[in-house]
Amino acid sequence: MPQMTDERVRAGMNREEDLSLLHEVSMKTAGVSHLEMCIQCGTCGGSCPVAEDMDHTPRMLFAMLRAGIREEVLRSNTPWLCVSCYHCVVRCPQEVHIADVMYTLKGMAIHAKLYTDSTAPHFSQTFVGMVETFGRGYELGLATRHYLRHFPLRLPGMMPMGFGMITKGRMAIIPKKIKHIDQLTKILNRAKQLELTS
């Protein structure tokens, strides 16, 4: 009889958590996720236009959620690569809200600080920061800030494009701000509190 090692005990405990991870993701997802209905058919992984670059196919992530493998899921680049094209969503035979689950996993990874490459989270956060400040997206500021931080070497290469966009008036130099930004701030602050309490 093999001895009950600490690893085994811990594995057993982790198994206790299996469903709790799946349920946590389900609860945090907008709409009804149907995650527990996944039959591992691979329609999602087959449909995904960026699957080649992903650490795990979406299907594998769902299997890992079931198995309670939290860290590896939240470290995966898969949710960050999701382009929200919804091919998998409309094709999924079990109506899993795959794209929305990806959003949830991104949020969880940010909170747990478990992503491996910060490019994508920073881009999202920079974008959100702009929206919270101005109420509108501000492409020039976003691109500049983002590129300075993550692709400084590519910035000169992007210049012709950026220049073209500016000269053709397709990139605003000055950000636009909505009138009632204070109202939006109040709403978002309240929403953030609600998010914490949930």
């Binding site: 945090k28 949020g107 994508a120 959100v128 966009m165 709403i187 949930s198």
Partner: protein, 331 residues
């Protein structure tokens, strides 16, 4: 007059200025009245949803709440941008599917003195309005300069026909709305198998290599099919394929030159408007040569159609139509 509430979205006055300008020039001939939602804010694109759930939906719902205040005579919100359309439609749908989400969002809205009851508004995309409300017949009747000789690939993009919460589109994978509209303008529409594939979305910002591959697939298939240009309905698609085409060529060592215009720009041209009034020229990959195929600048050299070979093969099944789909659902 057909009145609608307009949610333009951030890109319409910057990167997709051409879309806005061309839209403005076709509303009058089509007798459309678009009333902009007062003080609308950004929909959060694909970014906010990945950070915080309730704030993301509250951000979107503020627009819906504001729109309900302007609801005299219409309950339809029109979004010309596919990402905005999807976000607005999604918030409306999920606030119903998950009532707890709806309640929390409303609690947040209340902090700003607003409220939105899910299901109050009808969120629709611009092309949906044009094809199904205005109608192809009405559009055809306004055409004074048919686009014959212009070979176009209709590029719908992904966020418009999917996930399609309200079952508005003819098909999730190969919708025909844009094809039909372009055909009504007289253009030579090419069957484009990638019409609802992704343009890369935000990947141009966070993982350019992945995005370039997606862009390459689109433009290479379009030029493989000898298209003069791609026609799109979404600012993000236009931006990615247009602004990043040079980079993509650079990355793969290719030499594609595939202009991308908004469908409203082509409508304007077909309605006889001046190219300058339609934002033509704002694209980075110039459409000048492509437009030269149109009668006015350069005489059209229309290739004689190849004589159809007698079909000796096996007959094809009839194509699936939206009509049949509806019937199937009724059952």
């Amino acid at each position: 007059m057909n009145k609608y509430l307009l949610y333009p979205g951030c890109s319409m006055d910057s990167s997709a200025k051409a879309y806005m300008e061309s839209l403005n020039s076709i509303v009058e001939p089509l007798d459309l009245h678009l009333e902009e939602i007062e003080d609308w804010n950004c929909c959060g694109a694909t970014e906010y949803l990945g950070i915080n759930l309730i704030p993301a939906y509250s951000l979107i719902a503020r627009n819906l709440a504001l729109a309900t205040k302007q609801m005299n005579g219409t309950r339809t919100v029109v979004a010309p941008c596919s990402a905005c359309y999807l976000n607005l439609a999604k918030a409306d749908y999920y606030m119903q599917e998950r009532p707890t989400l709806g309640a929390k969002v409303n609690e947040a809205l209340a902090a700003g003195g607003l409220e939105y009851k899910a299901g109050t508004l009808d969120v629709r995309h611009l092309i949906d309005i044009l094809v199904y409300d205005v109608g192809l017949e009405a559009i055809r009747s306004k055409v004074v300069r048919p686009l014959s000789g212009l070979k176009v690939v209709p590029y719908m993009g992904c966020m418009l026909p999917r996930p399609d919460y309200q079952h508005r589109w003819s098909d999730h994978e190969h919708p025909t709305e844009l094809d039909d509209l372009l055909r009504a303008l007289g253009a030579d529409v090419i069957d484009y198998p990638l019409t609802t594939e992704c343009c890369g979305g935000h990947m141009t910002q966070i993982g350019p290599e992945s995005a370039f591959e997606l862009i390459r697939r689109l433009i290479s298939d379009a030029s493989e099919r000898s298209a003069h240009m791609m026609v799109t309905v979404c600012p993000m698609c236009q931006m990615n394929i247009d602004a990043y085409q040079n980079e993509t060529n650079h990355f793969f060592g290719t030499n594609y030159h595939m202009p991308v215009l908004f469908f409203t720009q082509l409508m304007g041209l077909a309605f006889g408007k001046e190219p300058g009034k339609l934002g033509i020229g704002l694209e980075l990959v110039s459409s000048r040569n492509a437009l030269a195929n149109l009668g006015i600048e350069v005489p059209v050299t229309q290739e004689p159609a190849a004589p159809r070979k007698k079909d000796e093969g096996l007959p094809m099944p009839r194509r699936w139509t939206k009509h049949e789909g509806r019937k199937e659902e009724m059952k």
